[in-house]
Symmetry: C2
Subunit: 373 residues, 2 copies
């Protein structure tokens, strides 16, 4: 935290400071950041109110502020939603069309203002990549963009800033981190011991340290391991040489968040068990490896398929019983009435899936399994 002023001063002279719905004001973090900026001669322009599943309205507002006030860098102080909004603002500041164009694939950013991050939640990995995901409430769409210019110039990862994250948000963050690993771990490339070992290390660490952080929210080492895991899970290392990941489950989840407003991590905990049950026969060896190396399932005496399924069950049980995160749409009172609409929306921009390419029938079947009973 001591470096935020110096780092910001190296990136610009007038910063748009983007925050969420109030916690960094209440707990005093914003004051500390503002004072650090001031002492290094960086002027601050504030934009608050970014919501979870950040909305295009904040992006439009922030981009307009950047132009009006001559802002030359964007500093996110918050979790992944705030970081994603800050990135979209940085890209939109010099774009005179509607920023939603980037997410609807009608335009690509030419450049972006430099971005800095003070992270307060271990989850999205947005602090160490060029991704941004924004929701458009007018069209009930949640869409990703990627651009190398969105990679933060600096990110300050101080585990103590996550001590006050409540248990449900901690748990959703853990699901998000694990989900990023899943998206990249399930591929069909052979001979990838480095990628496998790194992925399994992250999964093992998160699975074993999350309960410590839930039990004792100020457990520094537990919070530190979750924080570093969140960055390593989605900074490009895991998918290097394996094709970039599957990401179908994320697209299916984005529909749940966009249509029903549930937290991203909550939606992922619903989608992943259903996705896995639909696809595991594509590469059962990979799911056997997952069961043993990520979840510690003892393979002794188990048939291949039983071992693979036991891994999926172990994950589901961990979500439900250890993290206390529901694993069905029914748990959130969501019925099946919009499944066809969600399937069409999820398939709007490109083919879904690379571990297994998903047809519309597959997508509908996954949503139906995710409904639960």
């Amino acid at each position: 935290m001591a470096n935020v002023g110096v780092e910001a001063a190296a990136a610009g002279k007038r910063a748009l400071v983007v925050t969420g719905t109030g916690s960094v004001k209440k707990n005093g973090l914003l004051d500390v950041v503002m004072s650090a900026l001031d002492s290094e001669g960086v002027e601050a322009v504030e934009l608050s109110g970014v919501v979870p599943n950040p909305e295009i309205g904040s992006v439009r507002e922030g981009a307009a502020l950047c132009r009006e006030r001559g802002v030359d860098m964007v500093l996110a102080v918050g979790g992944g939603s705030v970081v994603d909004a800050a990135k979209a603002i940085a890209a939109a500041a010099d774009y005179y069309g509607d920023p939603w164009d980037f997410f609807d694939k009608k335009a690509k950013p030419a450049k972006a203002l430099p971005i800095g991050v003070v992270l307060t939640l271990s989850a999205t990995g947005s602090e160490m990549n060029g991704n941004s995901v924004i929701t458009n409430p007018e069209t009930s769409e949640k869409r990703p963009m990627y651009h190398p210019a969105l990679y933060p110039r600096f990110s300050i990862l101080d585990p103590e800033l996550t001590f006050t994250v409540p248990p449900d948000q901690t748990a959703y963050g853990v699901v998000d981190i694990l989900s990023h690993v899943f998206e990249q771990y399930f591929h069909n490339v052979q001979d990838t011991p480095l990628q496998d070992g790194l992925a399994e290390t992250i999964m093992w660490t998160v699975v074993n340290y999350a309960p410590l952080a839930l039990k004792k929210p100020d457990d520094y080492n537990a919070r530190a391991n979750l924080m570093w895991a969140s960055s390593l899970a989605l900074n490009g290392l895991l998918a290097a040489g394996t094709g970039g990941g599957d990401w179908a489950s994320h697209m299916l989840e984005h529909e749940l968040s966009a249509k029903y407003g549930i937290a991203h991590g909550a939606g992922l905990a619903v989608i992943f068990p259903a996705w896995m049950r639909r696809v595991y026969k594509t590469n059962i060896v990979r799911f056997m490896q997952f069961a043993v190396n990520a979840w510690g399932v003892d393979p002794t005496g188990l048939k291949e398929e039983d071992l693979a399924v036991k891994g999926i069950e172990a994950m589901e049980n961990y979500f439900r019983n250890t993290l206390n995160v529901p694993v069905t749409m029914a748990d959130y009172g969501i019925d099946g009435s919009r499944i066809e609409e969600m399937a069409d929306s999820a398939m709007k921009h490109k083919k879904l899936g690379s571990f297994m390419s998903l047809s519309r029938d597959d997508v509908i079947a996954i949503y139906e399994t995710a409904l639960g009973s």
Copy 2:
């Protein structure tokens, strides 16, 4: 390889193309690179003749060429020695004192020309960090420098470019990669499952894939895993949060290279077994973990110390018998006559060791053990 022209053109208009002692000319790689530069409008100025344990003379020559010819980027085509020389040249191009000042800690670079890499040897990790190590034959010194501006803008890692690396160079490269992991794996910080898992993954991968590359030099997957391992082993990930590494063994090895001209990897295979035997009691649990997770030693029924020592022996046997790399100074015809001189030189700039801080007596004892019989 297809991208080298485009990447270089993004970094500059006139490139100093730095190469070694001839192999990239003989095998046609240099022609391919030159043609790619030409087709993107990048002019090339050649500097060849960089030797293993690259010398300050090449750095002086390259820096002068940069100034005379208005070079605005440096492209290394070769292994780690060529990359290290290119980095030092990039830093020295705008420095009007003697470039050795950087290595003798008399000056720090203010900036550096952009650096690009086409890598032909999996070993040093220099393709993905800000380090450079240069030898001064006038003073028999080999010294490191680090500066963030020395981080390459791009590095092209094509495993096929390593198919023609002969067995001894392949083996020295493997020792170098493993040594970088050792330097960062042996620390006394608690609760580092992410760093441990990544380090153990790299060690396991290198130990198991190196024999495949030695047996079949054009085994793409074996070469690819060694190449990616070389970068991951020394790009900052392993020592994040653990204090930066020990590096005493590297300092002791630099004396062997500087005084006797032996290959860096060869020197490391001599120093590490001796260093480990001197320090393992400092943290025997760490050495037990090393034995089991890196070398696959079965811990059943072994006392703590026996397990730790078996790991060291497994490594030594692997160097000698699997890689065919000697593990004593005597194997190279080196006697003990310059041990005191080497100890004084190794301790010239700073304290040695963080896993265990080494006294002059420790250093001398390590060299004496490394002598062998």
